[in-house]
Symmetry: C2
Subunit: 196 residues, 2 copies
DNA sequence: ATCATTATTTACCATACATTCAAGAGTGAC
DNA sequence: GTCACTCTTGAATGTATGGTAAATAATGAT
């Protein structure tokens, strides 16, 4: 609690926000320490003291991204029906990956789908992060079945995987330049294959 | 035509096949010259003489990948109806991205969705390549409308974008470890939202 | 005031990277 | 057999990379 020693001159969370931006635009392997320290306006030793190393900075950036940029997932999961969950998820995903003043697409996908064997832990970490997100939808759809809101003939895991597949595809399209309006139409079509 | 000078000791196309494999697994930025020359069993100067440089090797690898690994697209486009085109495309895509003895996913996606500014040309190149593939489907669906096979109320560009979105998402899922059976079910669900 | 503690600054380090040079070796033309 | 030509081998080049050491500066505790 007591703040001993010289106080930090920068705000850790604000610096992390800059890191998110760089990793989002350039991916893990495409980002150098110099890119990071320039964007964060801190020195290399400050970065190492605050975040450990490049990998630590990335992991914390992913954490902030999930907390801030993907908070719409919490709202989606709180919807009263499985159908409403899916609608809210896809529609807010489209908005999130096409925000005017931010990088296009999704950090957890452009962060690194593949990489050098030395960076395999990063790829694994991103895969696990996305898997954890998908698992939340599995549980939510199981709950919907338990509540009688969703037919017991449906497979919660398949529905969650379907939505995760669509959002991943939407992120790829967004990063390649597809517009919000175009992706919104794709999302509505994808919803046509979702129960009810 | 005349083969003057010392003959090349390796087969260019076979070497390119090895390069495809490495780029597929590791992406453009995650692949070093050493990774390439090891996999291709040639020396650095041999690679430069045959392919120009790392970027040239990648572009030619993408060319080979499109020609060999994505030939099922030609077959899909040759199907007699728009519906059959979509079915063939998604189903063979699932097979292609989950082949047992090959990297999982799709080279044109894991090759590099994002990257260092110095590698932006690679990212652009991949985006354009995927866009060119998508454009073939736009033309095919327009043809289907012209032939009366597909309702004129449908937008060929939207249908093509929908399929491209799904295949991109499937590739992400495959690279993260989803099984062929799981992805086949996702593909069938996605087809439920395609006309007819 | 002194000290322990933590940040910052500046410079450095070892390695890895893409690319190329220089010398030698295998081929066809004459 | 010599020459022009092209490939291979092995080494080197310059730079960029992630990470760190040492010295200095700012705070709280005593």
């Amino acid at each position: 609690m007591a703040a001993r020693g010289r106080p930090r001159e920068f705000d850790v969370d604000e610096a992390l926000e800059r890191a998110v931006d760089v990793f989002w635009r350039q991916g893990y392997e495409g980002t150098t320490l110099e890119d990071l320290t320039n964007a964060m306006s801190i020195s290399r030793p400050s970065l190492y003291a605050a975040f450990g190393n490049k990998e630590g900075t990335f992991r914390q950036a992913i954490g902030r991204y999930a907390r801030v940029e993907m908070s719409y997932i919490d709202a989606a999961l709180a919807m009263p029906t499985a159908r409403a969950v899916a609608e809210h998820y896809l529609r807010s995903n489209v908005v999130s990956i096409t925000l005017p003043d931010r990088p296009r697409g999704c950090l957890s996908i452009q962060g690194g789908l593949a990489g050098h064997p030395a960076d395999q832990r990063i790829v694994d970490f991103l895969n696990e992060s996305r898997g954890a997100g998908e698992a939340r939808f599995v549980r939510r759809f199981q709950q919907a079945i338990d509540e009688g809101d969703l037919s017991a003939a449906e497979d919660p895991a398949e529905l969650a995987r379907y939505l995760a597949t669509v959002t991943a595809g939407l992120a790829v399209q967004a990063s390649a330049g597809a517009t919000r309006a175009e992706l919104a139409r794709v999302a509505e079509r994808a919803l046509a294959a979702f129960p009810q």
